[in-house]
């Protein structure tokens, strides 16, 4: 079986006018084994 996740996430966001921005990035690679509860991706300033 297979699960496909489709979601919106920040690609860039100015926070309160400052110059920092957020961007979603995957923290996996194709072929990686992953377990439920582990991070697929994060968006940090």
């Amino acid at each position: 079986s297979t699960v496909v996740l489709v979601f919106q996430a920040p690609i860039s966001k100015q926070i309160n006018g400052s110059d920092s921005s957020q961007e979603f990035n995957f923290c996996v690679k194709p072929g990686d084994r992953i377990r439920f509860g582990e991070a697929l991706g994060r968006w940090h300033s």
Binding site: S1, V3, F7, Q8, F24, G37
Partner: protein, 368 residues
């Protein structure tokens, strides 16, 4: 040759012994010969399969990506009654196994499919059938959930096949190198699926700024529905649409959890085919994910739109929703030939659909 000679000798011996009949012993010998031939054939097929898998693993390690390549076997699969086969398999796996035999059967399954039996919540002899074992829960604490508030967690155990960002109205997801399918076909033509960055303005190809009604609608729908209050100090948020495909092997833990705090608004059930979903099938069967039986959940999370498609396979044809236990999948279909339109349910309770926290149990795949 060995068996033929042995058979002829034993035949000759028997005919001399009991006056020329010799038919009874000769026939009885034929049965082991047929069994041996069948076992030999299965052995050869398995060895060939292992050789092919090893070859594709070596290519993958070298970074060579196998391309889409339809073959005769894929066309042959179209002729098989895969849904009926799947239901028969499901019926067999519901058979109760004698208590003393259960640990041996589940250990054999664990060895064959690399399952980690230590994590099973119950002792092995408590799972009455293979189907009960397959949908097992895990011991408390087996899957710690990433507490980072700015991360999305995997909803299942499995292997990450592909991921990336979807751009443009076409929004295609690559099934395998050389073949892609549209996210609209996968999820169903959904009005809330944003097709580009949901910012109210977007650069079009001529570089001029255009505003699209659709984005406005999807943005206002997101902003009105999402619990967060619109904060004018924030500049316009730019959001992209991403996807991730995770393949679950037969030995993996097969329950599905919520990848984030999520309001599920709509459920769509596509009663499709049940092709196998293994690596070879993704390389040889066209439109695999949009032809197979699947359940799509669609809703909103803090960053906007979110949808999850749980896709069944021949051996794992059932998808059970804990938020809608009455949904039945992989049932006999009325119309055999063409595929039926998806059956849709809008979750209206609490006014904003079914609220789930990150990590909550959502669904389970099961056999048959």
């Amino acid at each position: 040759t060995y068996f033929t000679k042995k058979f002829q000798n034993s035949n000759a011996r028997h005919s001399s012994l009991n006056g020329g009949t010799g038919n009874f012993q000769g026939d009885s010998f034929l049965v082991p010969g047929a069994t041996v031939a069948t076992l030999l054939m299965l052995g050869v097929l398995h060895a060939r399969r292992m050789y092919q898998d090893k070859k594709s693993d070596e290519l993958r390690e070298k970074g060579v990506e196998l391309e889409f390549q339809p073959d005769v076997k894929a066309s042959f699969l179209r002729l098989l009654p895969l849904r009926s086969i799947s239901r028969c398999w499901g019926y067999l796996t519901t058979m109760e196994i004698p208590v003393w035999l259960r640990p041996h059967v589940y250990r054999a399954w664990g060895r064959a499919f690399h399952s980690n039996l230590e994590e099973a919540a119950l002792p092995l002899d408590k799972y009455a059938s293979l189907r009960d074992f397959f949908v097992r829960t895990l011991k408390e604490g087996s899957r710690p959930i990433d507490a980072d508030p700015q991360c999305l967690v995997s909803p299942v155990d499995g292997t990450v096949l592909r991921f990336g960002e979807l751009n443009g109205a076409g929004a295609m997801i690559e099934q395998v190198k050389g073949f892609s399918y549209s996210v609209f076909s996968l999820l169903g033509a959904s009005p809330s699926l944003p097709t580009t960055a949901d910012d109210n303005v977007q650069e079009d190809h001529s570089g001029s700024i255009t505003t699209t009604e659709k984005n406005k609608k999807s943005w206002w729908r997101v902003s009105l529905a999402s619990p967060k209050v619109w904060d004018p100090t924030l500049s316009r948020p730019q959001r992209g649409l991403f996807y991730c495909v995770v393949y679950l092997r037969p030995g993996d833990y097969h329950r599905v959890h919520s990848p984030a705090d999520w309001n599920i608004l709509v459920r769509r059930h596509f009663s499709g085919r049940l092709y196998p979903l293994n690596e070879r099938a993704t390389r040889t069967i066209r439109n695999l994910y949009i032809e197979n039986e699947r359940v799509v959940l669609e809703g909103l999370w803090q960053e906007g739109f979110m949808a999850l498609a749980a896709i069944g396979a021949t051996n794992i044809g059932s998808i059970e929703l804990f938020i809608e236990p009455e949904l039945q999948t992989n049932k006999p279909r009325k119309k055999l030939l063409h595929s039926e339109p998806p059956e849709e349910t809008v979750y209206e309770c609490e006014g904003v659909g079914r609220m789930l926290k990150k990590g909550d149990e959502l669904a389970a795949f099961n056999m048959g």
